[in-house]
Amino acid sequence: MFRIGIDVGGTFTDFLLIENGGDNRVYKVITTPENPARGVLYGMKMMAQELGMSTGEFLQNVSTIVHGTTITTNATLTQEGAKTGFITTKGFRDCLNMRRGLREKKYNPKQSPPLPLVPRYLTMVVEERIDCDGQEVIPLHEQGVYEAIDLFKKEQVESVAVSLLFSFFNASHEERIGEILRTNMPDVYITLSSEVLPQVRVYERNSTTALNAYVGPLLDRYLKELHTSLTREGFKGTLLIMQSNGGTMSLELASKFAVNTLLSGPASGPTAGLFYAEPHNNGNIITIDMGGTSFDVCLIKDHAAAVTMEGQIGNYSIATPMIDIHTIGAGGGSIAWIDSGGMLRVGPKSAGALPGPICYGLGGVDPTVTDATLILGYLDPEFFHGGKLKLKAELAHQGIEKLGEKLGLDKVSTADGILKIVLMNMADGVMEVSVKRGYDPREFALVVAGGAGPIHATAIAKVLDIPLIIVPRESSVFCAAGMLLSDLKHDYVRTYNAPLGEHDLAKIKELYQQMQYEALLTLKSEGIPQERVSIFISADLRYIGQFNDVEVPWKGFNLGDTVYLLADAFHHRHESLYGYSMPGSSVEFINLRLTALGVTDKHTLSKYPYSSGDPSPALKGVRAAYFEGKFLETPVYNGLKLQYGNLVTGPGIVEQINTTIIVSPGYRLYCDEYNNYIIQSESFKG
């Protein structure tokens, strides 16, 4: 049987195919943005062909497909989601579009306000009100709902979101509105805030609910189409969808909770990172993934990726848990420029794929990071994209030279400067997820992926003093690999506000039980038996009077005894995050959280026999590359020929299709028994 991970990205659709007891195979096809299902099916046909099977025969032997998609992300970023209506409490019509009144770039007057997800004329209010104790103060005036329906029908709205004040304490009004909508608008996609995110904070809940409505119909259509096509071709297995929280879910749930797919593409990176790091380390890693325009970084501590409840996509907030992947505008296509004070800067603007860097020869005129790497000898102009795109080195030289004249630097120093700046931006990105959160990056291994990542890996590690770097051989389809390693995962939350010590333990237990019941039922519907379910609970706590909370895991289910341990854990976490704690102060609950995992079967890494320390059988040539102020004659190796035990001492370059690894002087790379690359500083003892 086969299992397939599919990552539909902006440019390429990546596949990782795993055969029971067999090898892993990597495939890439061009993404078909107008209908991504086409690209996926094309890939299936290609795989079948290579295996010498008919598509039907092949698909009948596929047990599981795990699929990550950027369809909802792109729809949000390009504002091409469904025409959405929004219903909220009378008097609070604009809380969604007010966005809490922030304008991040405070000093720049030349900015347009962000476009609303739902225009005001499609935002309808109904007379009703629940108070902050969950009591009904004004009954629901159903007339208002029917008026909204009339307008929505007239405007041919495809999706409706409902988010009322304090519905997380009392959902009866929302549920009734849901009933009326479903009866009267059966073909319309309905989202209730009490189903998507029963949690305090109006804007964040409204925004999450509206986003779900905005992307839901698209995802629903796409998944149905994909499933139908696959089934028609013979697929009978399980199709799972990657979620932003790093877990997977069934098709049905994905269609209902579409907002949970907004980070579906990169969210499996951390899982992949852990998998490749497992033989070398204790579960503390930082993954970096560098492509053409962006640099994604994620910190994983004790085998768990950081999760945020304050995610953003475009200008919109998402308060459902997402893997905390920090993205900065630093990629191969990032443009170098000089500001009005004469300082060299790099990015966040990118030349993208078209026109791309100057050296692509496709009309790009702005010098980019890729141009700089070419000048410094890190890239082989003949072997870019496996030789499919011949780079025009002379154009890159001219472009960088021109930039350098303005700085009074020669072209090599300029190119080196560009890399140093982008390197610092990336290092700051890594510090953002580590140092800023109280973690020392030196205690983590760096797992490097993406087309441009391995070029900069040793340089980043050097800046941050990170002793161990891991570059998976499948680093170019890193996320597709991670998808096959992810469990089913569902997050639940209930707002519960009471001081520790005055809390009602029976109520807390009841809320956790509600969530657990819902979790077990959901996982059962996805075919997961109870013995494969793992439950984790946590609480959001804060000192009384604070406005933000700290999530603290609640180990064990014996709630009564552990409440005070929970408070201790809170004080400690507070101290490390904010530089102080106040153990004498009262602490209060704000939210209770539960995460349920449905554990799936996973493949393991295959081991290869030891060869020797000598890498010379893989040597394919020598070229000059720039390290620490001078060009050195640097050996270049064919990565696919490197074997377990082979040791490359820096300076060195390892090339695979779509991957170039630069080993700086002072570092050594060796191929481990799983055929992955391990890079260490020569001073590292471990």
Partner: protein, 585 residues
């Protein structure tokens, strides 16, 4: 093109500059996420910075811009006061506006950062506390006629000495503050945040050593100075003068107060001269020099087009003249608490009006001023005293050439940095029931680019005997947001209290009120001023605003000359053309 000078590596300079800025954000995160005062946790009314050992500003994040130039005065004052008696492990505090602070509620807390036994840098914070004693509410006392009615004055003092907690100092301070249960943890929060900054700065010192860092920061200052100078040089030479008014000072309610700014540009030099402003007044709108300076910087930095690192280099490249004894630089013992939000705003407005004569397309029309109460009382439900500023109530931003103003932004001295608190958490903590919180239709100034929308904010009081200090202004035509280049003014704010018995009280600027169970406080906060002639706004844009209920049919016709069919919501193109032609002549 200006070239990077000296023998320094321009790359390393950029790298270290970025790192210092990142450190100020790390300090800020600790404050933002852990403080108790809604004023700094929710509304982000604070600033964080790193200073060098000569008290020069290295990097800063002013979460609200009116704090941008105020910290340097406070740091210099503390440093001078203790001079040879600064030790590793000390933490200093200051709030006295007559000892270098901007205004009393913004408490400054700073920590010296040592390296190998020597003072190298300062990690600095400043945040608006929910209480600093005195007779005001959250510091606001519109009836004060001296600083003694506003606060406990904290001269430069030590909270920690060589790492030792100074119990006497803490007690002296907290014993004079009603809301000590919120202020005490927020002082700890600032101390903790300073430590976070210290951690980052020490990591830099370990990596580069003080000598190299000092070379780099000199270059950072020079770079910024060059940038500011090149921006100044781009402004045509001349003297540009404008004035704006404050509604009154809270004490003499019949007298508006003049704020006058003359901006003189000569080559690469720029001077903000406020000498023609009124003399200092009885009430708390008197400004301190640090606040006046900050307001001038806000007006300038929001009117130039590049992003510039704000540091010593910027501070030394602009001259500010504000003679002592004027409302823009009041003498001891004047009350000054409202200088940030009221007087700071009027200074920015006057400076923008002046700049608009020189660089008309770069300047924004006026934003809505601040006008809402801070309240204090006892919440029977939680059994605690509560205090809050109603920061949901945010007016619209002003339009500028090419861009509509932003909706629901709040006052210009925050420039979009003020985050509205969450209404649900607000109800859970305070004895208030919110009735309405949405855009106020027709509140924006019309223009080719219209002002941002203002806000309607109404709530019912569910506890007896709540005290309210309504602070800020903009309740009359003269102080409402102005339009620019033919854009129209926005209307003044309208505030009132509807008593439980039905009586309606009109609420004035800078005034105390008492609220009782069942009273309804109503605020209609204006939108921003418009930019450019309204008739030049494309009719489709006007239609969109009408369809969205932001602009009424009448206003579309009257202000924009656009005729829309109320049945079909179509623009009547011919009537629009005729009407615009007729109204133009």
């Amino acid at each position: 093109m200006v070239q990077a000078s000296g023998n320094l590596d321009p790359i390393l300079t950029a790298v270290i500059g970025n790192r210092f800025e990142a450190i100020t954000k790390e300090i800020g995160q600790a404050m933002l996420r852990s403080s108790r005062s809604p004023i700094f946790s929710e509304a982000r009314d604070f600033a964080t910075a790193v200073f060098d050992k000569y008290n020069r500003l290295v990097a800063e994040t002013a979460y609200i811009p009116i704090l941008m130039a105020s910290l340097p005065f406070a740091v210099a004052s503390i440093s001078k006061s203790f001079e040879s008696d600064i030790n590793e492990g000390d933490v200093f505090i200051l709030n006295d506006p007559f000892a270098g602070n901007n205004h009393a509620p913004d408490i400054t807390i700073i920590k010296p950062v040592y390296w190998q036994g020597e003072l190298q840098f300062w990690s600095a914070t400043k945040g608006h506390h929910v209480d600093v004693g005195g007779g005001g509410i959250c510091g606001y006392n519109p009836e004060a006629t001296s600083i003694f009615e506003e606060c406990i004055r904290i001269a430069p003092a030590r909270l920690y000495c060589k790492g030792e907690y100074q119990k006497d100092q803490w007690e002296m301070l907290l014993n004079n503050i009603q809301l000590g249960y919120l202020v005490e943890p927020d002082l700890h929060c600032q101390v903790g945040a300073c430590k976070i900054g210290e951690r980052g700065i020490r990591a830099l010192l370990a990596k580069y050593g003080p000598e190299q860092l000092y070379k780099v920061i000199e270059e950072l200052y020079n770079t910024t100075e060059r940038q500011v100078i090149s921006e100044v040089a781009a402004i045509p030479d001349g003297t540009y003068y404008a004035e704006r008014y404050l509604d009154h000072d809270g004490v003499n309610k019949d007298a508006m107060i003049k704020i006058a700014v003359a901006i003189e540009v000569k080559g690469t030099e720029i001077t903000f001269d406020l000498s023609r402003s009124d003399s200092q007044v009885a009430g708390y709108v008197n400004s301190t020099f640090p606040n006046t300076a900050s307001a001038c910087f806000v007006s300038f930095f929001t009117s130039i087009e590049t992003e510039i690192r704000f540091n010593e280099g910027a501070l030394r490249s602009i001259n500010i003249v504000a003679p002592e004894g004027l409302v823009v630089n009041a003498k001891f013992p004047s009350p000054t608490v409202c200088c940030t939000i009221s007087t700071g705003t009027a200074i920015v407005e006057a400076a923008w009006l002046a700049l608009s004569q020189a660089i008309p397309r770069q300047v924004q029309a006026a934003w809505a001023r601040w006008c809402a109460p801070t309240t204090i009382g006892f919440n029977p439900k939680t059994g605690r005293i509560f205090a809050d500023i109603h920061f949901m109530c945010k007016g619209g931003g002003g339009a500028t050439y090419g861009y509509d103003g932003w909706d629901h932004m709040g006052v210009v001295i925050c420039s979009g940095g003020l985050r509205a608190p969450d209404p649900e958490l607000h109800e859970m903590v305070n004895p208030y029931f919110l009735l309405q919180y949405e855009y106020w239709p027709d509140s924006s100034g019309a223009g080719q680019w219209r002002g941002g929308m203002g806000t309607v904010y109404r709530w019912r009081v569910d506890a007896p005997n709540v005290a309210a200090a309504n602070f800020g202004g903009g309740v009359r035509k003269e102080t409402a947001p102005f339009g620019l280049d033919g854009g129209m003014d926005a209307p003044p704010h309208q505030l009132s209290i509807v008593k439980a018995n039905g009586e309606m009280i009109k609420v004035d600027a800078e005034t105390f009120y008492r609220l009782d169970q069942g009273d309804i406080f109503e605020i209609y906060q204006s939108g921003g001023g418009g930019f450019g002639r309204p008739f030049a706004r494309p009719p489709e844009k006007v239609l969109e605003d009408v369809r969205n209920g932001l602009v009424s049919l009448e206003k579309a016709r009257k202000d924009y000359g656009v005729v829309i069919d109320p049945q079909t919501y179509q623009v009547d193109t011919e009537s629009t053309f005729m009407l615009r032609a007729k109204l133009t002549t």
